[in-house]
């Protein structure tokens, strides 16, 4: 059970995961309600693939950097608030899902606990993204509160700025890719 809870909270305690989920949620939340489900489904499928790969002990990957890149792209587009093709949202969500899954290796030797952690991570990340999308969609669409939309765009620009700074720093230190 503790492994499941640890996995559930995992995406919410790692800053890179939080940035990526927030930025992606803001972006998807700007989509039309009917299309949001497609992007969410793409994220869940990608996440399942990433977690399955990590369960089969895939070695070190570029997942952390890819997640930051997703945070940058999603944050920048959320800040611009320009509609993208539906495929672009789904693709970005799928990439984020795979990267988040690959960047969540369970730190335990017990197969049972590791499995519980992976399931928890999958559920936690999916729920977190769904909540952010729902909240964004509600504030942007239902209430028509203009300052919420502006706040969302400002948050997107802040996330994009943070992500690009980190990527630059990792590049300067020779840690990127």
């Amino acid at each position: 059970m503790s492994g499941f809870v640890a996995g559930l909270l995992h995406p919410l305690v790692l800053p890179a995961h939080v940035l990526a989920l927030l930025a992606l949620g803001l972006l998807i939340g700007q989509q039309m309600a009917g299309r949001q489900i497609v992007s969410l489904a793409a994220f869940v499928i990608g996440l399942a693939a990433g977690l399955t790969a990590i369960a089969f002990a895939v070695g070190q990957t570029l997942a952390a950097d890819v997640l930051l890149a997703v945070a940058f792209v999603s944050g920048a587009f959320a800040a611009m608030a320009r509609p993208l093709p539906a495929l672009a949202y789904a693709l970005l969500a799928a990439i984020a899902g795979v990267a988040l899954g690959l960047d969540s290796p369970p730190e335990t030797v017990s197969i049972a606990v590791a499995t519980a952690m992976l399931i928890g991570t999958g559920l936690g990340a999916s729920l977190a993204l769904a909540v952010i999308v729902a909240g964004t969609s509600y504030l942007f669409g239902v209430h028509e509160w203009i300052w919420a939309r502006i706040g969302g765009r400002i948050l997107g620009s802040w996330i994009a700025a943070s992500a690009i700074l980190v990527l630059a720093l990792r590049f300067a230190r020779g840690q990127l890719f």
């Binding site: 800053p15 890179a16 940035l19 939340g29 700007q30 989509q31 039309m32 930051l68 920048a76 800040a79 608030a81 320009r82 509609p83 969609s137 942007f140 669409g141 509160w145 203009i146 300052w147 939309r149 502006i150 706040g151 765009r153 400002i154 997107g156 620009s157 802040w158 996330i159 994009a160 700025a161 943070s162 992500a163 690009i164 700074l165 980190v166 630059a168 720093l169 990792r170 590049f171 300067a172 230190r173």
Partner: protein, 210 residues
């Protein structure tokens, strides 16, 4: 209408101005609730370290507040465009700084930004939006470069960067909150006076007194 399409429409300040003022005031309170930490060269990592970093350079602080004040003076869309554009342009400057690309006269440009932006507020200048954006964007590169070059090694870089960017944004919001006082006659005088004080502080930084 699509949510995204609705976002394209220029928002109006007529909507919930009071809520905006309260939200910005809350941001100010959050800003001043941060514990005191060391300034440049601090190796303090994490969100708090990054958050504290921009707050302990007075030249940065007054320039960021001036950006917000000017945005409020210019009105929509500048008031909401500046806090969106500035962090992105500043991050570009930060990337240059991190990569070690030299930029001449960084400290001078930062001090000059306080002089110019403060003067703009003091004079209640209303140039075209693209001129204001160009001016603020140019200064943002220098501010970002200085911050990027000072990012500490080690620590949690992601949290540090997030804290750093959020603090900068909150300084803008502080300026905007104060700038919204310009709706009233007395407030307008107070805001313009604040601009004058910022410009004078910039002169002091330029002359080495600050």
């Amino acid at each position: 209408m699509d949510h995204a399409a609705r976002l394209l429409s220029a928002p109006s300040l007529m909507v919930d101005q009071w809520r905006a003022v309260m939200a910005a005031a809350a941001a100010m309170l959050l800003l001043f609730a941060v514990p005191a930490l060391a300034h440049t060269g601090s190796s303090t990592g994490g969100f708090v370290g990054g958050f504290a970093h921009p707050l302990f350079g007075p030249d940065h602080v007054v320039a960021m507040v001036a950006v917000g004040l000017w945005g409020a003076f210019l009105g929509p869309p500048a008031i909401w465009l500046l806090p969106i554009v500035f962090p992105l342009v500043m991050a570009f400057g930060g990337v240059i700084g991190i990569l070690g690309v030299p930029l001449p006269g960084v400290e001078t440009a930062i001090a000059l930004s306080a002089v110019v932006l403060g003067t703009m507020v003091a004079l209640a200048a209303r140039p075209p939006l693209w001129v204001a954006a160009l001016l603020v964007g140019a200064f943002a590169i220098f501010h970002g470069h200085a911050h990027g070059a000072e990012l500490p090694p080690g620590a949690d870089v992601v949290a540090y960067s997030a804290g750093f960017v959020v603090a900068t944004g909150l300084l803008h919001l502080t300026g905007i909150a104060v700038g919204l006082l310009a709706r009233w006659r007395a407030g307008r005088i107070a805001v313009r006076t604040a601009g004058g004080v910022i410009a004078l502080a910039g002169v002091a930084f330029l002359s080495g007194l600050g």
